[in-house]
Structures are given as C-alpha cells and as structure tokens.
Symmetry: C2
Subunit: 330 residues, 2 copies
Amino acid sequence: MKKFMNTAQTMVAESVEGFVRAHEEFVVFGAERKFIRRHHLVPGKVAIISGGGAGHEPMHIGFVGHGMLDAACVGHIFTSPTPDQIVSAIEETDTGAGCLLVVKNYDGDVMNFEMAAEMASGRHRIEMVLACDDIETARAGDGRGRRGVAGTLITERLLGAAAERCVPIAELKAIGDSLSSRIRSMGVALTGVAVPHTQRTTFTLGPDEIEMGVGIHGEPGHSREPFSNVDTIVRRLSETILSDISRSADKGLLLVNGLGGTPPAELYLAYNSALGILSEHGVRIERSLVGTYATSLDMQGLSITLAFLTDEELSLWDSPVATAALRWGC
Amino acid sequence: MKKFMNTAQTMVAESVEGFVRAHEEFVVFGAERKFIRRHHLVPGKVAIISGGGAGHEPMHIGFVGHGMLDAACVGHIFTSPTPDQIVSAIEETDTGAGCLLVVKNYDGDVMNFEMAAEMASGRHRIEMVLACDDIETARAGDGRGRRGVAGTLITERLLGAAAERCVPIAELKAIGDSLSSRIRSMGVALTGVAVPHTQRTTFTLGPDEIEMGVGIHGEPGHSREPFSNVDTIVRRLSETILSDISRSADKGLLLVNGLGGTPPAELYLAYNSALGILSEHGVRIERSLVGTYATSLDMQGLSITLAFLTDEELSLWDSPVATAALRWGC
C-alpha cells in the first residue's frame, strides 16, 4: 500500500494541517483544532456546519468559506467526527441566528450530529438536513436509507448561499428538505481502495471488472460487471438516476465527480458522454461541475450526480462563493 | 487497462469537447477545432499561446482565459500539436500586439512551435519562451535540456497577467526568460502509466518501489528507490530542487501538483511536509498552490515545484485570473 503519508495515525492531522496552511485566506482551525471554520463569521447569519469522516477531501473542508459552510468537522478515515467536535463548532460559529447541520446519511454521522444537536440545543437553535443522494442503497421513494455522497455539496452550496442572504433557519431547513428527492448520484469504481489503518483493500477487481453502485467508503457496490467503455458505463449511471429522481423542478445541474484516482481528462470525457445521454432523455443541463470533490481515498472511479433545480436555486448556485474547492463571483 | 474512454482514437477529441462544453463561460473552440481559445480577445494585448500533447490536463486548456492563456493547442496523447494548429491559433488570437508562445522544452514541441513561428512570422510578431523547470533531466546551469513540467503554469500565469496589463512583447519575453532559472520541479511516481494507443505500461514498479525524477510522459525517472514515507520523499525532492535553483529573488511560491491518480488529501499532506522542510532551509513560502494541474494520464505520483519570485511577480500572480483550473479575483 503506497500512499503519500507518514503513519496511519497521523495522516489525517497532517493532511488537514496542510490544507489549512494552504488556504489561510479562507479558513482557520477552530478551538483545539477540533474543526475548521471560515475566517470571518457574519453576525445574524445562520451558521451552516457539516463534516464527516476523513478520506473524502476536498469534501467538506474544501467547502468552508463565503457562500457555503461556516465550519466542517473531520473524523478519522471513514469515521464520523465526535459530538464534542460538532458542539465546539456550533458554539464558535453560531452568531445568534442558529446552526443548520448538513449531515450525510450514515448511521455514525447521524448519531453523532444528533447527539451534538441535543447537547447544544439549550443554548442554540439547531436544525438538521440529511443528504441522501446516493441511488444504490435504497429504492424506496422516501429517501430513507440512502447514503449521502457527492450530491451533498449541492445541498451545502445552496444552503450556504441562501444563508448568506440571511434566510432564516426554518426556511433553510425547508429548502434543504425539499432538495432531497431532486438530487441523485451513482458511482462506479475501477479499483478498490486500501484503508491505511487496516492496510486491507476493501474489494479487489480483476483487470476487466468494474464495481457499479459504489459509495465513498470503499464498500462494495451493487453489482460487479465487465469493463466496457465510458459510454456504456455512463449510460447505466445516468439512466438509473433518471429512473429514480424527482423532476418536480426542471433545470438540470450535472456534477461529474472523481473518486480520488481518476484524472481530469477522463472526467471530462465522462461528462461529455453524460451530456449526450441526458439530452436523449430530454434533460437540459443548465449548470455543470466537473472535478474531484468527494473522494474515497485514492479510488479510481467516478460518480455522476444530477440535480433538478428551480430558477431561484440556480441563482443561489451562481451567487458568489469563495472556498478552497469552489470559487466564483468573489 | 481500465480508463474512462471509448476508443484510443477518439479519447482526446471527446475529452476536449467535454472540457469546452463544461467551461463555455471561459473558452470556445477555434477554427476547425484546431485549438481552444478564450471567449473575449483584448485588442492591443499580446496573445499568450501554449500547447502540447494531451494527457496532461488541465494543462494547458484549463489555463485559457482572462489573466493567463489566449489559446492552447492540444496534440494527441504525449504528442506535440502540429504547426498547422499553432499557426491557426496565432492567426485567430493576434490582435495586433504579437504572440508569445510558451513552449515546454521537448524536441517535438520546440520543433513544431518553431516551425509555426516561422510560417507566421511574415504576418505576425512572434516570440517564444521555453519552460524548462524539471530538475532531473539536466544538471547544467544554463537550463538547456531540461523538460518543461508543472512549473510551466507559473510562467504562463505570470506572462498572462503581465500581458493583461498591456506589457509589450519584448518585455514579456524578457520576463519569461528571466524566470527560467528561478522555477524548478521534481516528480515522483508510485505507479507507471499505460498509454492508450499502445496499451503498454511505460514502467512497472513493485509494491514497495517508487520512481524518483519522473516527468509527465510516463518515462522512467532518475532512480528507483524503496518506498519509505512522505517526509523522506518530499525531503529528497525539495533538497534536490534547492541545490539547483537560483535564489536571485526571495519570495517563494510552492506548487504541489498531482500527476493524475493522487487524491487531494495526499497532496495536502505532501504540501505540509514540504513547508516544514523548506522552512528548515530558510525558505519562506509566500504563495501556495496544491492540486492536480499537470498530469501524466492517471499516474499516481506528485511533483514539487518551487519558484523564487520578486514582489512585482507576486503581484502578477495575485492579479485576477479566470480560467477553468485557476480562478481568483474575478
């Protein structure tokens, strides 16, 4: 297992320290290095807080800054941050309008964010939005049981932009909940990943195999299939998404996300393929994002995320954002 | 060889088309799709043109836009663009102040850019700047024979920013030439890469081996060494760079660049390590860039680039840039 690290015990702390030092214009460590927060808090604005296990960078620390998150809490590799970390982030970033927690729908994350919300609720107004965009983990219509993956960043961006306009917390919660049926993602892996602490690869693929329906924790996917070509793979991802997503809004946002080991040229190729396939299905893509945003360590693979948004949500998407990983209009 | 592609013959065209469609706000295809150019040309500004083989994305197409390149010509994988492509880019982007060609120092690129310059020289004022930042390919002091790798983007950025201020072409050429001894890069690979056309891996490493001194074309490096840890590797890269770079300016810019298959978390870890090692050597880093900018297909590896700049050059670096891969101040 060759990775650019020193020890499994120190790799998260060293990497996050590197991130903060590289992006001092946007972020600082919070108290006792328990979380990362944006430099300048805005009084009267709802604080948007997210977090999760390490190994998904730039998610979420790369989204801390103007127009997106106020704080991000990082756990160990693929492990939720502790309630104590989350409470510290709430205490330091709530400027009076409350805190909205954006939580990827995994048991450990949900449990720890809920515990933190309970611990802080006497002193802070807290609401929570679950991100559950992954297509493969549940087929039921209500979204329960779906994992939060790359599409989480769309929720974080839209809520962060709305918060910047001083939208009150109840309304932010309603926006977040209304997005959940309109954002769907599906991933595919060309390789498994080795988790540093265990030095074990979570699954192993043959030279002509791919794993369809993977999440972002190296867990096996939905089915193992023969490797074909990008059009076939992207068609499968896109059409599965279309069979499940709510089209109650009609402006498409397409995110092609690299899982850590896939180079930009291949992501653009997959994006080009997805545009064509979605167009066949009458989907018009109004906004696009192509890059490495939500990773599963160094996995070779990608995910496709489609979101159907309203004009108002597109305008939130377009508003200024200044973070390490997303930056425009500032 | 699993890659997100359809055929080796079409992969560059499909990927570049995806890039252009994803970034319509910055770029359009030039005549007959021979090159990519920025949307809005500025009359009286020197046109900055670069290019090279595909397989290095986002270099150079991701650098086309305000404050950087006016056009980029893309060849086949690891193959120079043709003189015809380059002449077309010159003809379409020269608004009267001439064209400066930024060329990575490889025989094929130099030959084709020189041929294009000769073909266009009757109608256009042309100058050329060679990027030759790679440390491992020559030890002579004059820079001849060094390859252009990730550090090329620093030259492109500074010249693009200066051109935006309407600096005349002779002065731009002088700035570019003066940078050459002050930018040095060195790369390391954890894996070789398979070239799509040949389906052959350029070199193969054992599970505990690394290749020191690689470029960005999958060519073998300077020495094969046992895998140790990131501090040891980054120290070797950083100290080799320091032994060779000119310190005639004293403001450090540190670029940690992923070679295609290395996730952001590992790049930040390497960056953190490099900051500490450079600090031991009295180098103060004033600006940083960490990400995947100049790739060698899907190679797992990274390069460290150090540049020593003047205050005036730092101010060029900081000025507004709006491209797909670098964006600030706009």
